[in-house]
Amino acid sequence: MLLFWVVIIPVLAVALSAVLPARSRGAANLAAHGAVFVLAAALACRITSGTGVVVFGGVLRADALSAFFVLLISLVNLAALAYSRPYLREDIRAGALSPGQARGYDILFNVFAATMLVVPLLDNLGHMWVAVELTTLASAFLVGFYNTKASVEAAWKYVIICSVGITLALLGTVLVYYAVAAQTAVKTLDWSVIMSRASGLNPRLLSVAFLFILVGYGTKAGLAPMHTWLPDAHSQALTPVSALLSGVLLKTSLYAIIRFAMITNKAMGADFTSRLFIFFGLFSVAVAGIFLLAQKDFKRLLAYSSIEHVGIIVFALGVGTPLAVFGSMFHALNHAVTKSLVFFAAGNAVKKYKTHHLHMIHGLIQALPFTAAAALVGLLSLVGMPPFGIFMSKLMILSACFQKGLYAPAALLLFFLAVVFGALMFHLSASIFGNKPKGIEFGKEAWSMKLVFVSLILLLVLLGVMMPTPLQALLVSASRLIAGEGL
């Protein structure tokens, strides 16, 4: 029953935002997404304490892994929504946005959130594929929201490249379907059924199918060489949307890859997938590191940093020990929170300075002190400074890697992380500190925006210093699902 409500509430929210007037629409949205977050938390507690699996009407199924992703998605949805209220109010007051467009934004936002929430809950791989395709289509309009040349171009590239990727993923799904049908004569695409029969499947066919899945969903997840759409889409989208894109959308396609990886691992052992994951993970961090050095646009910088963090998560999945998987899930949560914090701060800065270029943005700490503080905290957390979460998850992943004896990949990862650190500090310390240009006057943010910043920062510090036990239980059971016992 819980699952049903988690899916239905966003759909109701879509209907409500189409009907309600501006004033009450905000409150309704907040209530809806707040409720979804609470339900997700309840679902997580039910799963960790109770049976481990919750099923609804043969279509929806939630185990520890999907519960964690639902929690993650609903958290970032809530944060993005809370931020977009004051963000849009400023735009409307400034005349850049008509009330009709604001309503359109709310509808699209809720459709996007609904499709993302449904992906982890679908048991059938075909349905999951359709849901991931719908997320692309829903977010396409949000990327191309402002009808400028750059945003239309970004939207077009986003839709076409992601659709091609997802078509390849469909090819992979069909091959898996064929492998299951040929081997066990049971014609089904339900993940739980396939998982129970996975050991007998033909390993070579499954490995090729996994290749298509990895490249297909990898395009959507922003793994290097398929990441080319990501910087354009994230830098042109509305700030709350790019926070959603970076924080969560990449991880939903990662979720799909993990589902297929679990099947492949059960069929032919974890060695095949771990080598692929380690290669793609390191390649993504390397590409992101190098591109970060040459960036001149604030939001593109953050987009490339998302590619880097997705690379780290995939690298950790490649290491494969229970501790590494625990670290990668924890890193996904940390990155989602940090990236949304930094994107919100970036959005304020870009709006204040009316430019994306890093050379023109300097002295942020004098123009918008609170946003500058949030940007600084986000930046330091992104690069893995201690009091924040990513330092801990990075530590877990690296120590798992050392324990498994993968010294060369760990050394490479440390080197690339240092390059990323240098690049990010080089760009952002010059823009946060220094004297503000004459044309910019001292500005204050709305209190609700400040509330969002403070809550995200507190969450980051909390995750950095101690691990709340229910979250730990959820992550441990999720990692037990993927990498077996051992934590």
Partner: protein
Amino acid sequence: MTIFLLTGIMISTYAMLVCQRVPALIQNFRLQSLFLFLVTLDFAFRQKEAGIFVVAGLLLLVKVVLIPSFLNNLVKKIRVDERLGLFLNPLLSLIAALFLTWGASVFCSWFLGTSPIAVFAAFVVSITVVLVGFFIMVFRMKALTQIVGLLVMENGIFLLASAITGGMPFFVEIAIAFDVFVCAIITGIFMYRINKVFTHIEVHRLTDLKG
């Protein structure tokens, strides 16, 4: 019977590569979808399942009737010049297509070496259609060709599914067909927007987002 229909699909796919004007491309796509409908009908009769009939009917409705007509009146509304803008002239495209077919057959031999000729042929044809779809998207300038390329790849995968496994579960097929339709509509809307903002739909000139 299926071999005859499979050759029909191959012909329409190669025709798509050769054509240089937009309406011709859409017409070939409609032809390919029709052949695909016939193949699915043939499978339906052989396996006697009601589900496949409904899927075939849906395919006919979506890919033969709705999408091509939507694309056609979209092209008429945009009034952009009809040339497709080829990176590779038709002759080279054909040679490339032959190479792709050879590649597809090598790929299939890795997996389906021993299975009957009909299934093997269907596998080769479907992979070729997917590769040609990819080819069209990469080596043509217009935005429309990228939409059509995408749809052709969908067709390829649909053929693969129905050929080697006798069709995906019913609801999944319905969902995929619906999803393809929505994808075509939305990409069409974006193409319209590109034309309004850029007054042309040459995608290779959309390069201001660099680095």
